[in-house]
């Protein structure tokens, strides 16, 4: 046993796969201890907030101010509100209302704005201009207000008795706050989803649930497959015929179709994560059975097995002591594959809307499903689905890598 383990851990592929999986497991276990936020709490009012650091505006007004005189601050400020496309569009408008083209210098912001302010009127009808374009100019015009202002902004509060505004503080353009000194700063490394939930927290909780589903389904599938395979292979005869009949039946029915039918018929109210895991386990055992049976058949006439039979050991004893140890390595490998395919099966089911009940627990497939329903993919909200895809890929990749590594160790033909 010790020797086998040593051998296994000498395989580069296995170690690589194993470390990815352990890293994922550690993150899944440790993250909720460090950040105990409920993964399904709706924190954002609005959909798909971009990844980034969110600094509370109200708190930053109260936070201590630091003056930093940075070069180019004003230019950056202007560029953030008026890009080169906007400048071109402004020129287009001005030309359309009859300003000679050579009088417009789109690089000279002050001049451009001056021309704009005197000539822009949202009510002007320009031939061939669509309503969408007109709306664009109105939005642009609104964003240009105070673009070149250099004076400070004033923060005022309403006097509760008179209702008048009273100056409270002044924010100069060179004022900065240190993000560490602001009372409320929230890091959203992966932004928020369509419900306004923190995607990272949700993703980690989902990975955990998906792994649980994978392990439960993998263990169920492997134990059914192993038991039936051992019985069919060792006992043979009519037992073998019956078991193989059902195994073959399952082999020819596409697993996913069966899975979809079962999930649909049990109804959403009973579809919890465990139920889904059991359903997946119950529909994916058959190839383990076939493989185990083949291995057992090649083992059952070996000398040590015959010797055991002669010694009068029971069937259970022989299977457990003389057969199982010889196929144990294979079973472990098969189980790894079962786990990874169960995780994929859950994702597939949930994308079809047949996964565990929505929003009771997050799963990787459900996150994909909702991202699709709210068009994250067409609206370019990558953070709502790419991290999920990467997580699924990493989990299955690491398991398949471990499997290949094990294969190399146990299968002499593959050793280099």
């Amino acid at each position: 046993m010790k020797h086998t383990l040593q051998q296994v851990f000498r395989s580069g592929k296995f170690i690589f796969g194993f470390s990815i999986l352990v890293a994922i497991l550690l993150i899944v276990i440790i993250y909720p201890l460090v950040i105990p936020d409920p993964p399904l709490a709706i924190i954002a009012q609005g959909t798909f907030f971009e990844p980034g650091i969110y600094v509370n505006v109200y708190d930053s007004i109260i936070a201590p101010k630091y003056t930093l005189n940075l070069e180019g601050a004003a230019a950056k400020r202007i560029a953030s509100r008026l890009n080169s496309d906007d400048r071109l569009a402004m020129k287009e408008w001005l030309v359309a209302v009859g300003i000679p083209e050579d009088e417009i210098d789109i690089e000279d912001t002050a001049l451009l704005l001056e021309l704009w302010e005197t000539h822009f009127d949202p009510k002007t009808q320009i031939a061939g201009m669509t309503n969408a374009r007109r709306n664009y100019y109105i939005r642009l015009n609104a964003s240009l207000e105070g673009l070149l202002a250099t004076e400070a902004a004033i923060i005022a509060v309403k006097n509760p008795t008179t209702g008048a505004l009273e100056e409270k503080s002044v924010v100069a353009q060179s004022d900065f706050v240190n993000a560490n000194k602001v009372a409320n700063v929230r890091l959203l490394p992966l932004g928020t989803d369509n419900f306004g939930r923190d995607v990272l927290t949700e993703l980690i909780a989902a990975a955990r649930v998906s792994l649980q589903i994978g392990f439960v389904a993998g263990i169920i599938a492997t134990s059914i497959g192993l038991t039936l395979g051992l019985l069919a292979g060792y006992i043979g005869g009519i037992v073998d015929d019956i078991i193989m009949f059902f195994t073959n039946l399952f082999t020819v029915i596409p697993g996913l179709v069966l899975l979809i039918l079962i999930s649909f018929s049990i109804g959403q109210e009973r579809r919890g994560a465990t139920t889904i895991a059991i359903v997946i386990g119950l529909t994916s055992w058959y190839w383990t059975t076939r493989a185990v049976r083949a291995q057992v058949i090649s083992l059952r006439n070996r000398d040590h097995v015959n010797l055991s039979k002669l010694s009068g050991h029971s069937i259970v004893h022989i299977i457990l002591n003389d057969i199982l140890p010889y196929i144990a390595s294979y079973v472990v490998m098969a189980m790894i594959l079962q786990i990874s395919s169960a995780i994929l099966a859950e994702a597939g089911l949930s994308i079809l809307g047949l996964g565990p009940r929505t929003t009771e627990v997050p799963t990787l497939g459900l996150m994909m499903n909702w991202a699709m329903i709210y068009y994250a993919h067409t609206l370019g909200k990558w953070w709502a689905y790419i991290p999920v895809l990467v997580t699924i890929a990493l989990i299955t990749f690491s398991m398949n890598l471990m499997n290949t590594g094990l294969d190399q160790v146990f299968n002499p033909a593959l050793r280099d």
Partner: protein
């Protein structure tokens, strides 16, 4: 040998039984389009029987898996075709104006904002100013002195597609046929309309049903009839009767490919990928007495998309000009991608709210018979999050339009006294208030498990809406979250629509378990509003109906509300009406039999101006204002005469 045979037989039986199970379980289709179902119902809400069938039809269709077709450039000239999405789901079944199962959305067979593409109503309703404008009719209609009869004339120019004039007799015969064959229109109106008679060739009189005092039972519904019911040709109807031998089922099932119509468009092509209408260049409406010209696009084409997402992509790519579907985060299409797409209003809520999607309480559920519990849940819900997240801001907020029974249009908002109900209009998110309310009512957590009990029994509810109706599901999640914050255990569950609709609309028995808080729609804009909506939301006349597609699904009974609902249609004094409406709002906000979660436009009207422009938008200067109803519905069809090509 015997063993082998036995095995083979066993095998055959197992395979057969598996196949049969597979057949019994329909393959589910994931996203059921929410919008169409609701819209369809709203537009035909007075017609209960028809509603049932329309809804079933639409949903049946969504089960079919449809392939998104490639845009067929070249098949139809792009410069003469206006493309739509979000109206037609699944293949067209027929063209029969007497049938309610045509699944032919672009054709339109009546409703408050009738889609006048192929069949026409005497008047067209304009949801923006609440007026009915003459279409087939000549000039406004009028009541007689004691308000028992409505008289109007048909236009001299009004013609059928076969060139014969539209006559008063056609209208009268249409009504007779509806009655004779017990269609939705007939069944829904015979309680209010006694008879429709042709006085002469062009003049029609609608005689209202009178009550025991000789007064019209419901003048509102009678006057709405002229803009919500189409005229069908008598000669063609007789032909149809002849070939179906007067059999009700056969008559309604006839596909009617030969139907005679009066509208500007008719069938050009229809299969399971798209529906195309072509303009009738002899359309009578080009006469000076109506539009004075033909509608601009030669073809109206509706590609049948698989789901909202596919339709949204087509809109973004410019393959769809007019979109009637929920495009989530639509503002990103212009803000982030700079696409030439616009909505009626340039800023949130982007459209004009017309209906009130509402969460109903099952008043028979344990504890929900207590006003304190109902009110606590309703005031704890985070409505701003529902509007920002579930609706992606495509709804007015309850700060902008405080809750009542009225939709956000100025006309309806003016119909109740805002100050009188101010104290009752909650804004939501009031967790402390809700807790205090429950504590005061003695509904507290007595056994320390974190959940409140009423008379020793834990308050635990299931909030529900149909599966796949994404914006409603997201809203229901927010409702459930509110319950947890105030110590009431609310979990969510989403049954399939086919199950949901049969359970919710069965009002002759208490709702079963699992339907404690459930979402349904309300009526949109129309000539009988807000009365019709209030009747749907509060009237006890629906309780006890075996198939109730009207409203009050929580089975609320309040005699005073019933009295007011009955009295309003006959009331003409504006001040008195306002008083009555205010009292109804007061009752509604005090008893809280249901609570509105968001406002929703009559149609989601978004346009891509790559090919066509000059669509209706706020302050577009049109007089009368053209409503944002996808260039097809009610007075919104005027849009078809105004649009122009971007590059002529």
């Amino acid at each position: 040998m015997l063993r082998k045979k036995l095995m083979a037989m066993l095998g055959a039986i197992v395979v057969l039984s598996m196949m049969m199970t597979a057949c019994a379980t329909p393959t589910p289709e994931r996203i059921v389009e929410t919008v169409v179902v609701k819209e369809t119902v709203e537009t035909v809400k007075e017609v209960e029987v028809e509603v049932v069938k329309t809804v079933e039809k639409v949903v049946e269709k969504t089960v079919e898996v449809m392939v998104t077709p490639e845009a067929e450039e070249g098949a139809l000239p792009r410069n003469e075709t206006l493309y739509f999405n979000g109206q037609q789901w699944g293949a067209v079944v027929g063209w029969n104006p007497y049938s309610s199962s045509n699944n032919n959305a672009m054709m339109g067979t009546g409703g408050d904002s009738h889609r006048a593409t192929m069949f026409e109503t005497p008047y067209l309703y304009n949801m923006l100013d609440g007026q009915q404008y003459p279409l087939l009719a000549d000039g406004p209609w009028s009541w007689n002195a004691d308000m028992t009869e409505i008289t109007f004339k048909f236009k001299a120019a009004a013609k059928w597609s076969d060139g014969t004039p539209v006559t008063a007799e056609d209208f009268a015969y249409t009504w007779d046929t509806h009655l004779k064959y017990n269609t939705g229109v007939g069944a829904g109106n015979k309680e209010y309309i006694d008879d429709i008679v042709a006085v002469d060739d062009k003049t029609v009189v609608i005689k209202a049903k009178l009550d025991e005092n000789g007064k019209t039972i419901n003048p509102l519904l009678v006057s709405a009839f002229v803009s919500s019911n189409i005229v069908i040709q008598k000669a063609w109807t007789q032909k149809l009767e002849e070939r179906t031998g007067g059999d009700e089922t056969k008559l309604k099932a006839d596909p009617a490919e030969d139907v005679v119509y009066s509208g500007p468009y008719h069938k050009f092509f229809a299969d399971d990928t798209k529906v195309v209408f072509i303009r009738d260049d002899n359309y009578w409406g080009q006469d000076k007495s109506m539009w004075g010209k033909l509608p601009v696009p030669k073809y109206l084409a509706h590609v049948i998309f698989k789901d909202n997402a596919a339709g949204s992509v087509a809109l973004a790519k410019g393959e769809v000009d007019v979109s009637q579907q929920f495009n989530s985060n639509i503002q990103l299409l212009w803000e982030s991608y700079g696409l030439p797409i616009s909505t009626y209003l340039p800023e949130p809520p982007y459209g004009i709210g017309a209906s009130l999607p509402t969460a109903f309480y099952n008043l028979k559920s344990y504890g929900l018979d207590q006003i304190a519990v109902r009110k606590a849940i309703a005031i704890a819900v985070d409505y701003p999050t529902i509007i920002a997240n579930a609706m992606t801001n495509q709804s007015a907020t309850f700060d902008q339009v405080p809750r009542s029974l009225m939709n956000p249009t100025p006309g309806e908002q003016a119909m109740y006294n805002h100050d009188a109900v101010k104290d009752l209009q909650w804004a939501g998110n009031d967790i402390e208030g809700a807790k205090a309310l429950l504590d005061a009512a003695g509904i507290k957590d007595t056994d320390g498990d974190g959940w409140r009990e009423y008379n020793g029994k834990k308050l635990s509810y299931i909030a529900t809406c149909p599966n796949g109706w994404s914006d409603w599901q997201a809203a229901i999640e927010v409702v459930a979250a509110a319950g947890k914050k105030i110590g009431i255990d609310i979990t969510t569950n989403y049954p399939e629509w086919s199950v949901y609709q049969t359970v919710v609309t069965k009002s002759d028995a208490p709702l079963p378990e699992g339907y404690d808080i459930f979402m349904m729609w309300s009526a949109g804009a129309g000539p009988t509003m807000p009365w019709g909506r209030i009747r749907n939301m509060m009237s006890s006349e629906w309780v006890g109906m075996a198939s109730n597609w009207s409203g009050n699904w929580g089975q609320y009974v309040n005699p005073r509300a019933d009295e007011l609902i009955k009295a309003i249609p006959g009331e003409t004094d504006a001040a008195k009406l306002k008083e009555m409406y205010t009292e109804l709002v007061k009752i509604y906000l005090t008893d809280i039999p249901s609570f509105t979660l968001m406002y929703r436009p009559q149609s989601f009207h978004a346009v891509n101006e790559t090919v066509w422009t000059n669509f209706p938008h706020q302050d577009d200067g049109s007089k009368p204002p053209v409503p944002p109803l996808d260039c097809t519905d009610g007075w919104g069809i005027a849009c078809l005469y105004n649009i122009t090509l971007v590059n002529p």
